[in-house]
């Protein structure tokens, strides 16, 4: 049995995003595995342990240099990885990424797929749901808990008006929220082993896909330009001798200057 976990690279959350000609320029930005995807990886590993006799495969649509981050996923304990790297994919939209993921994942016949709830870049949260739709599978987004029993699943999610329990049958796609688990750190042994684990690279042609259809040139969206949000100026420190005095001066300011209370 196989579990697939899909992982994307994003700009380090510490990074300030540079703009060049009004568009994000990440050429000098450190890239990391999408933080939410680490919860997906952890869940895949824990589920594999529970289910037994299970291979966990990581799949990433990325670039040659993404291998470094994929190795980190392997170091966490994932068994093997597939990188889909094709120049034509620059600027592809999440629906196109989902088509690529489908072509890569379908032949692997996983019992289920785990993903992050959203990339902390464009916050789409779309690729995994689109993958489920394209494969004709169910999905549950933002899961906080997952139970697999045979070919059935039960998953919990924090919905808008309460905690939702979803039930359905496998195969399915699940996207991980932060409350799902606590991702492990790779051990030294894991890091050593990761170097020898299979990491296969594929192009669109290898997957039998047409670059003209799934490539960035055919994307359904265009980023016109980007700006920095208006910078908030530092305000003022409230003067006073005691905590009580400062609190009083603050409440007066909130009321008379800021007019928010």
């Amino acid at each position: 049995m196989r579990i697939v976990v899909i992982v994307k690279e994003v700009a380090d959350t510490e990074a300030v995003i540079s703009l060049k000609d009004g568009l994000p320029d990440l050429s000098a930005t450190a890239m990391v595995n999408n933080p939410y995807d680490e919860y997906a990886v952890e869940e895949a590993l824990q589920q594999a342990d529970k289910l037994g006799d299970c291979t966990v495969t990581a799949v990433m649509v990325g670039r040659e240099k993404s291998k470094e981050n994929l190795r980190k996923i392997l170091a966490m304990g994932v068994g093997e990885a597939v990188l889909i790297d094709d120049e034509a994919l620059a600027g592809a939209d999440p629906l196109q990424i989902a088509q690529v993921l489908k072509a890569a994942i379908e032949p692997l016949e996983p019992a289920f797929v785990l993903a992050g709830r959203q990339g902390v870049d464009y916050d789409w949260g779309l690729a995994p749901l689109a993958l489920a739709e394209l494969l004709g599978w169910g999905h549950v987004g933002l899961i906080a808990k997952l139970e697999i029993t045979g070919s059935a699943f039960k998953a919990e999610t924090e919905g808008d008006d309460g905690l939702l329990t979803f039930e359905g049958s496998l195969p399915a796609v699940f996207t991980a929220d932060k409350s799902l688990n606590e991702p492990r750190y790779p051990s030294l042994k894991g890091i050593m082993q990761a170097k020898k684990k299979p990491l296969e690279t594929k192009t669109l042609a290898d997957l039998g896909l047409d670059a003209a259809a799934v490539g960035g040139a055919a994307a359904g969206l265009k980023l016109i330009n980007c700006n920095y949000p208006p910078r908030k100026e530092a305000g003022r420190v409230i003067a006073g001798e005691t905590a009580a005095e400062k609190a009083a001066a603050l409440v007066k300011a909130l009321r008379e200057e800021a007019k928010v209370i």
Binding site: T13, L95, G125, L163, L164, P229, V260
Partner: protein
């Protein structure tokens, strides 16, 4: 003629007030507005659309609380048949989940978490914060077919509900087989305001020192009708549940007033709250980076300040 379909949200048959935001956005996009409401109690909720001038509402009245594949399958044929140009939902759990699934089903582009919409040179331009608001992007659709948009809450001035259209409802149908569905809903504990909905947020970080350190903040928040927020450091330490986390890997919030107590102001935290109208920081370290962003700073021990602030704010809000 541009046709817009808005997907209303309701709580057991009661249409949510964010319907006004959906209508406001739809009016920017087009001239014919239709609505759809789905789930248990949908027929009852549909009637409330009349007040917004919407005269035809598609209704999926079913016992199934939610099924992304089922609801998307129920909507897709109508969207094709009516040649809908835009579909607008809220960026809530329901809206983002159904919107994404629907876009995938229709094979059409999706722009979520939109904070503003405009038509420039005949082209719809959607504004959306990227990288947790570190930059603000403007995006346009290039693909064909109906486009799906979700709205960040509280960014569109709600349309008034003051019209008197009679609502005609037309039923939708669930497919016979559902791949996945909600089988149980555990309602939220009452009295707890979510940080995403709150006008005031009292937020605590590592500076509160432990789970008990949140007590004075919770007290303060409850007394003034605020929501309780937290930094990731506090959440990861297990002092408070993840649903309270504000920031790049938590919730992005936009209240009138954000009061950060014992939070240093890491970039990932700031990304989640920097658009708050007024920011107050209470921190005993005058060099904490949060002061660079705060409108008002108090350099002091939060445990000294918070009880005083609670007393005075309760008085101020009452008077």
């Amino acid at each position: 003629m541009t046709k817009v379909l808005i997907i209303g949200e309701h709580r057991q048959g009661e249409l949510k007030a964010n319907a006004g935001e959906l209508v406001a956005a739809a009016r920017v996009l087009g001239d014919t507005i239709r609505a759809a409401v789905l789930g248990p109690g949908a027929s009852q909720a549909a009637a409330a659309f009349g007040a917004y001038g919407v005269d035809t509402v598609r209704v999926l009245d079913t016992d199934v609380a939610y099924s992304s594949d089922g609801f998307a399958a129920a909507l897709a044929p109508v969207i094709a048949e009516c040649e809908v140009n835009y579909i607008v939902l809220m960026q809530s759990f329901f809206g983002r989940d159904l919107g994404a699934r629907l876009a995938a089903r229709l094979g059409t582009p999706f722009i979520n978490d939109v904070t503003a919409l405009a038509v420039e040179d005949g082209q719809v331009v959607a504004t959306k914060p990227l990288y947790a608001g570190k930059v603000i992007g403007k995006l346009a659709f290039t693909g064909k077919g109906p486009k799906v948009i979700t709205l960040r809450p509280k960014n569109f001035t709600p349309a008034a509900a003051d019209q008197a259209a009679t609502v005609e409802t037309k039923p939708l149908e669930l497919p016979a087989e559902l791949k996945c569905q909600v089988t149980h809903v555990e309602p939220k504990a009452t009295g707890m305001i979510d940080v995403k909905e709150a006008d005031i947020i009292v937020s605590g970080g590592r500076g509160v020192g432990g789970p008990d350190g949140f007590e004075p903040l919770r007290d303060f928040a409850q007394a003034i009708g605020a929501a309780l927020g937290a930094s990731r450091a506090a959440v990861d330490a297990g002092w408070i549940a993840h649903s309270h986390q504000v920031g790049q890997t938590g919730k992005v919030v936009n209240p009138q007033l954000y009061i950060a107590c014992g939070i240093s102001g890491a970039i990932q935290h700031l990304a989640g709250m920097q658009t708050s109208k007024v920011i107050v920081a209470i921190n005993n370290n005058p060099d904490a980076p949060i002061f660079k962003l705060a409108d008002y700073g108090i350099v002091d021990d939060l445990f000294q300040v918070v009880p005083e602030l609670k007393k005075l704010m309760v008085e101020a809000l009452a008077g």
